[in-house]
Symmetry: C2
Subunit: 284 residues, 2 copies
């Protein structure tokens, strides 16, 4: 069986054809312009490759309330052309195959759970630290979801006493995303984050916030693996800084055998989204 996969992002749609064991056979990228233009290209690609099912990891917010008549519809996104667009319905009526959808981070988490660093674990939390911050939790192969999908990037944490930045989240100012996503770093220091690479204090502060967030996710969800990806984590020195601060914060309250095996980088090399979408399509 040939399976279609989309990682539907705010700047590009990554489309792939996969095999049932998660191998990627083809991969192509289309820019995210208008729904009509982007989805016409998507449509042509998947018809050509005769896929039988499709999995989608989508940017949000997206309605994922099982009971809703708007299930699979994009919500109040700043990308106005996509606001209220019924993405799931549109793909179904174009392709006439089963289509399955979830948030980009949930699907990335499913990818790492099935084929990546968490493939031998019972659960994993996948956190992305990029333009925004989000996280998805997978346990026993199932994407965690409450009444609606999680918005884990918007938790409130302790602000560093010497950080005078007023925060960049339009809704909460100093929530985690407002203090620690890429744009927050760049606004705080007035520089591109790549130009801050040598400044250790920048990344110690970043680790201070991410370690707190991980502490909160850890005591609430108790994941077996915690994977942190996204553009900001290209600064690889963050991993040891985060591990150290997390262990200090946790202070042995819960036993962690080896923090190097708990907090990890992604393994799928920017393919966690499409690989997760393949797994999603096969799941149901």
């Amino acid at each position: 069986m040939r399976i279609g996969a989309i990682e539907a992002g705010g700047t590009k749609f990554v489309c792939a054809i996969g095999s049932q064991d998660g191998e990627i056979l083809e991969r192509i990228t289309f820019p995210t312009t208008t729904p009509d233009e982007t989805l016409n290209q998507v449509d042509v690609f998947f018809r050509e490759h005769k896929v039988e099912r499709l999995g989608v990891g989508a940017f949000g917010p997206i309605n994922l309330r099982a009971v809703s008549e708007h299930y699979g519809t994009i919500g109040k996104t700043p990308k106005l052309a996509w606001r209220d667009f019924p993405l799931l319905q549109d793909l179904k009526s174009r392709l006439k195959i089963p289509v399955f959808i979830d948030t980009d981070v949930n699907v990335a988490s499913l990818g790492e759970y099935n084929y990546g660093v968490a493939k031998d674990a019972g659960s994993c939390l996948y956190i992305t630290v990029g333009t925004g911050i989000g996280a998805g939790f997978v346990q026993n192969g199932i994407i965690f979801q409450g009444y609606d999908h999680s918005e884990m990037g918007h938790i409130l944490i302790q602000k560093h006493p010497e950080d005078s930045f007023e925060g960049a989240c339009p809704s909460h100012n100093t929530c985690l995303e407002g203090l620690a996503a890429g744009p927050a770093i760049e606004t705080r220091y007035g520089k591109k984050s790549t130009n801050l690479a040598d400044q250790d204090d920048v990344w110690e502060l970043e680790a201070y916030y991410l370690a707190q967030a991980i502490m909160n996710y850890f005591v609430i969800l108790s994941p077996e693996k915690i994977i942190i990806g996204g553009g900001v984590m290209k600064q690889e020195k963050l991993y040891p800084m985060i591990r150290k601060q997390f262990i200090n914060l946790l202070n042995d309250y819960i036993e962690v055998k080896d923090v190097n095996q708990l907090i990890l980088a992604p393994a799928l090399n920017d393919n966690q989204g499409v690989k997760g979408a393949i797994a999603l399509a096969m799941q149901e």
Copy 2:
């Protein structure tokens, strides 16, 4: 069928006999002394009433990792006589009936989910604010658990800029429990919390912390109902204060139709523990 239920607390064991529809037929309380003394009394009570299954909501920490050979064993509790005590095994070998165990808050959550304020909802988070702070999440009738049980009371939140209290959690100082559990309130003000009833600023600060915690639980778990119980919540003015501060913090990021239907007091009148234990015993 007659079902046994225990709410095993640090000061007392509440034991009950229930019917299959969650009705309590008998109820008795034994002080928590040594395992041997307390469990002898428990044993006699349940044999007398010929229960066929037993559900237990236990104080912790308790090992609930399905794969562990110490499943159901008490961990590093300050109650030294109970440290490393194999509670589940002991009850099973005494009574020779199926015994099911989970944390006190998880079981209380199951009680409210099945018979209380959340009985028509798909999920509920039950928070207790007492000597400690803990919370349990039930979704579709199943108690949520990751690799190990949650320790939601120990999340980190923003400290109030005018609160100079150094925090009361022996492990994390100013985690939620360290700032907002009963002993934290009493240490901060040097008075019994019942003697602070008239001081509005005390409860506004308490609501400030609890509203942040609820914000974090809400964006991570997306529960349909949030129930707050425990000794501190006897100050009923806290409910409207918490609702108001939570709605301000959330700032419409996620739609909440009616916060009065989201954040609620428990309905089971201190029986959520034993009622939840009845439900737990029938579940598996």
